[in-house]
């Protein structure tokens, strides 16, 4: 399957791309591109385009390239097929070109920024891929599933069409469930003045409600003051950041931060999600004009680390199976939380085996950057494009690792598919799963 991925993949049917394509005219393409290049880009793009010496040193950084050795899949290859052509031709590209560019930008790059570490000039490929996505969004050529998620964000301010009542109802249901285990446990809803607001991504109430339950048990045991809002603004996720709908990203982040301000909390602790962290900690806040998040954001990795370090939660019995760690790009390359993940793993697990490369050099799961959110049409390609991750996992499995800890929702999705497809038979856990399983819990 050497050079085939990019060519074959052009045949993948996607309603969003195909119908979007049918609405394009060459005038519209040229005008849209010119507007974006003029109004939304500047010196940074020019410098990147003119500095790149085509050395290809970034190739070996990208899991997509390493998985199939097709130069078209290298970071510079993706740029060459997209933004370079667009800039060179001053927007005079045809509809088929846009379709291919869209597919590359949305489904063959995770914006994981690994390549930026390997480029001698520090060229950030993900920045350029995001410009391509912005163009595709403005042209209405976005993958169907990703677009549906972006539209859910716009209509409900959450990722999964969760209605206002369903949200609170789910919290109350989880509270009731958890009270069977710990009688006086609460999920305090809309409690003004609590120390922190715990924010999650919509797949938690929709599919993984037990994660809210587990978090509640951990917070209750640690005796911290927390709350979850009764209103939209509870979802920290952000597929609009990845679809190129920056304006909607702004609206989502505004709702999130203003919910924290309304609740008078001192910080926002967020669940185990990587891309949402990037959105609230880096991209979305800045789009709104905040240099830093207006209310400090603490990722669960850091929060769990602090709870363990301060002895607020104690481990009753260590997790017996040997574990390995997957470092999520957004919290590790993006924010340097990798040693905290290791401290938690060593405190809670009998044995930890490192994957290689690891920490900020870790390979992405190939789900991130909105790629997994492009849905079933691109699933096979996504899994095939990360055989290198499968090799990495197989390697630690041979050394005895049975469980992969991945403190990121998207990573879970991506790794689950890789483990299944490559028949690796490993368990997948969040840090919260392990802590919940191993901690001392208050007596009933």
């Amino acid at each position: 399957m050497t050079e085939s991925v990019s060519k074959e993949s052009s045949l993948i049917a996607d309603e969003g791309l195909d119908k979007g394509l049918a609405r394009l005219t060459s005038e519209k393409i040229e005008k849209t591109i010119k507007t974006i290049l003029t109004n939304e880009t500047g010196a940074r793009l020019k410098t990147y385009v003119s500095t790149c010496v085509h050395c290809g040193l970034c190739s070996d950084a990208c899991h997509v390239y390493l998985s199939n050795r097709d130069p078209a899949c290298s970071p510079v290859g993706k740029i060459k097929q997209t933004i370079w052509e667009i800039v060179k031709k001053k927007g005079k590209v045809d509809a088929q070109f846009i379709r291919r560019a869209s597919e590359i930008a949305y489904t063959e790059c995770n914006l994981c920024r690994r390549c930026a570490m390997y480029c001698p000039f520090g060229i950030d490929i993900s920045y350029m891929i995001l410009i391509v996505r912005r163009i595709c969004h403005k042209l209405g050529v976005t993958p169907h599933y990703l677009q549906d998620t972006a539209q859910s964000h716009s209509a409900t301010l959450n990722q999964m069409w969760v209605k206002d009542d369903e949200w609170v109802d789910t919290l109350q249901w989880q509270e009731e469930e958890a009270q069977d285990e710990i009688g006086d446990l609460r999920i305090p809803i809309d409690q003004e003045g609590a120390d922190f607001f715990y924010s999650v991504i919509a797949p938690e109430p929709k599919f993984r409600a037990q994660l809210i339950y587990q978090a509640a048990v951990i917070f209750h045991s640690a005796g911290v003051s927390w709350t979850m809002p009764a209103t939209p603004g509870w979802d920290n996720s952000d597929m609009c950041m990845f679809s190129g709908d920056n304006e909607m990203m702004g609206r989502l982040k505004k709702a999130h931060f203003e919910t924290a301000m309304r609740l008078k909390v001192k910080k926002i602790v967020m669940g185990e999600c990587g891309h949402a962290f990037r959105s609230v900690y880096d991209v979305g806040n800045r789009w709104l004009g905040f240099r830093e998040p207006p209310i400090p954001i603490i990722h669960s990795i850091q929060f769990f680390y602090e709870l363990l370090k301060e002895g607020r939660i104690k481990i009753a019995k260590k997790y017996a199976k040997t574990v390995t760690l997957h470092d999520p790009c957004n919290t590790v390359r993006g924010a340097g939380l990798h040693e905290m993940i290791r401290m938690i793993a060593h405190e809670t697990c009998e044995k930890v085996i490192e994957m290689h490369p690891n920490r900020e050099h870790n390979y992405c799961c190939n789900a991130g950057g909105g790629v997994i959110n492009c849905g079933p049409p691109f699933k096979n390609k996504r899994v095939e494009n990360n055989s290198i991750k499968a090799d990495q996992l197989r390697n630690v499995k041979e050394q005895g690792a049975e469980t992969v800890i991945a403190p990121c929702h998207n990573c879970h999705g991506g790794l689950e598919d890789i483990i299944h497809t490559y028949k690796l038979d490993m368990d997948l856990k969040f840090l919260g799963d392990i802590i919940y399983e191993c901690m001392e819990k208050p007596e009933e």
């Binding site: 939304e40 209509a155 206002d164 109350q172 305090p188 702004g250 240099r291």
Partner: protein, 422 residues
Amino acid sequence: MINKQNWDWENGEKEIADIGTWKDKFLGVEEPYPSPDGEKIAAIVKPDEMEFSVCENGTVWEEVYDKVWYLRFGPDNRLTALVSDTAEWTLAVDQAAWAHRFDYVWDTHFSEDGRRIVIAAQKDGRYMGVTDDTPWETDFETMNNFSVSRDGEQTAAAVQIVSFQSGDIFKFQEGTYSVAVNGRAWPNNFVNVWEIAFSPDNQHVAAAIRVNLYDYTIAVDGVPWRQTFNGVWEPQFSSRDSSVTAPVRTGGKWMLAKNGEVLWDRQFVQLWHHQYSPDGATIAAIVAPEFGRWTVAVNGKPWSITFGDLVTDMVFSPDGAKVACVGKEKGQWSIAIDGVRWPGAFDMAWKPVFSHDGNNVAAKVEKNGQYSLVINGKLLQKQFDMIWNPIFSPDGDKLLIRGIKSGETKYYRQVVPLAELF
């Protein structure tokens, strides 16, 4: 407006209840809420396993429920809670549950005088507003951004008019949402509908909308402005000429627009939460004049002081002459009025409260887990384990303090002449 005249404004301290003793009476006690007049304090309690009720000044409600949440006093001191009995939900007001039952209820609102009480409800998967136990005649597939006019007579929400199959992105893009006012939808649909505002006379409704995936504008009584923008935030009506203003974004900058035309001659990195003074003469807004700096702009002119983290809780004095806000710089919260920052930095600060004549201002603040008040820039030395927003007497000479003193579990209401506070 709430009538504060008939509240007890006699100087002195009144112990209302020792909420510490409630813990011995019930299996669980949730956080307490005092009434605006300070005469009552209430909390959701668990009299027994799987049972919820409300304890008010030490007396528990007669009814017990499967679940009680969102305990709130209205401006007229009536106590409301969302309650469920055998999985049927409704609102209870001073112990009396409404007759209508729903599959879920949330988002309790009150008219300014407290006379009207409004909630959002869902039954059989259909959504509606409910005012004083009377549901809208029409229900909808989805509903959010539920809003209530000041007099509580009108309710509105963003509702879904056209059904679409899950994942039908193209149907959605044709426009499937509208605004329903008292259950009656506007004749036209939009791609999205967000913040909804009522006119001061309660007769008109404006909403922030998106007409396709890229163009945003404001619709007033169903009619969109002719101009579209890259973004809009919540609209407001002027009380003077019923014109509508909203923050709008073009060319990467935010401006204030009136009826679609640019109003202020200045552009900002951010501009939101604009407000009219009560007399309609002045407009203030929270703005970022430059990236990462926040302040208040009055009639388009930003204050010279700025905050690096955020500005929130902006409020006009009732006479419209002053503007106050909460600001945060390097993690420290403080209060500012008319461009002057009060001394003192806190771990948290609440929305400033003005006296009716606008001459006095007070705000709740928190430091090291203890609460207190700042009044006209001076910090009260007394500390509290919990305090609620202070309220000025109608003549503005006295302050009603509602709180639980440090190290105590008793809740007091105290009326203090301002002259004796320090």
